[in-house]
Structures are given as C-alpha cells and as structure tokens.
C-alpha cells in the first residue's frame, strides 16, 4: 500500500474530502519528519517509536574495486515497533 491508497482509505472511512485527507497524511508524516530532524523522539502508542541513532564514521572499502574510503559519521532514524503492532503482525 502506498501513500495515495492510504489517503483514499482515510477519506472514505472518515468522510473527508480527498484533498483534506491528503493534507492530514502529509501533516502527520511532516510533523514526524520535523521532530526527527530536530533530533526529537516520536512515540506513537500501539504503533511504535522513532529515534535518531548516531553512527560513527569508519573506514570502509568499495567491495568492487577494493578502494579504501572514509565513511562519514551519520544519523539514521531507527524504528522500534510498538507492543500492539508487534503482536498483531507476529504469527500467533
């Protein structure tokens, strides 16, 4: 399922205009993105939480050419699945 299908389903179930549902979905994920960009945590009960993990730089190698390259330190969002979602998805 992609974002536009998510928007359509939301519009139908909540009786919203398609445009409004689109604004809702963009606002929700936009807010999460902003929080993460500021280094804040996102915690949605029953769904999961996101936090930024810092990775140190390291010396790597291009597997194809064997060339040594320096990998710069980076930040990546890390998702931890919430209890309810975890239980619903797992094989019962």
């Amino acid at each position: 399922m992609n974002k536009s299908q998510l928007i359509e389903a939301l519009a139908k179930e909540e009786d919203l205009a398609l445009k409004k549902a689109e604004e809702v979905v963009n606002t929700v994920f936009g807010d999460m993105e902003k929080a993460l960009a500021n280094g804040e945590r996102v915690e949605i009960r029953g769904f999961g939480s996101f936090k930024i993990k810092n990775y140190e730089g390291y010396q790597g190698r291009n597997p194809k050419t064997g060339e040594i390259i320096n990998v710069a330190p980076k930040k990546l969002p890390f998702f931890k699945v919430g209890k309810e979602l975890k239980e619903r998805v797992d094989i019962s």
Partner: protein
C-alpha cells in the same frame, strides 16, 4: 521533547482547522489502516518518509543466556522500517553534510 499522538491531534487542529475530537478519530483510523495492512503481510510505503515492511524470520537455535540451556526460537514475523533517502538527508541536515560526504 517527544512527539506523541496528542501532538499530532493538536497539529491537525491548528494547521488544518479540524476539531480535536474529529482529529483524534482521524489519527486512530490512519494508524489502524497502516496496522491492518501490516497485519495482512502487506508493506506500507510512505513516499518521502519510508517504508514499513513485514519480514518473515525463520526459527533458529538460541541459548538462554542465564542458564546456558539450548533452545529453539520459533519462527516469527516482524515489522522493519526502511527510511527514505529524503528523510535520511533531512535528519543529517541536508546541504552542509552532503558535500562533506562526497
């Protein structure tokens, strides 16, 4: 600071003029739709944000770390999140770090 469901409800109220009770219901519906899809083993792709995927894990042999006892960990199904390139650049402060990485 942590962003929670309450903050999302307030944001829909402030930015989109949606009454709070309606906004609460909308957020729940949206999350439930995503959860339902994942439950039926379907991946959910949010362009510009990331992808929630369902992964099947095979059963494997493990050990109880406190007793040292061998045991079999059952097969399970888990949700993994893969962040999009756009989100990755945003959290790394796109622009400045971009040049340093190249």
């Amino acid at each position: 600071m942590t962003l929670t469901k309450d903050d999302l409800v307030n944001s829909l109220y402030e930015n989109l003029d949606i009454p709070k009770s309606k906004a609460t219901s909308i957020i729940e519906t949206l999350l439930n739709n995503i959860k339902g899809k994942l439950e039926s083993k379907e991946d959910v792709l949010i362009s510009g944000f990331g992808k929630f995927c369902v992964k099947e894990k095979k059963d494997r042999r493990g050990r109880n770390p406190s007793t040292g006892e061998d045991l079999t960990l059952d097969a399970r199904r888990v949700v993994v999140f893969k962040c999009s390139g756009v989100l990755r650049e945003t959290v790394n402060g796109a622009g400045q770090n971009d040049l340093a990485e190249r």
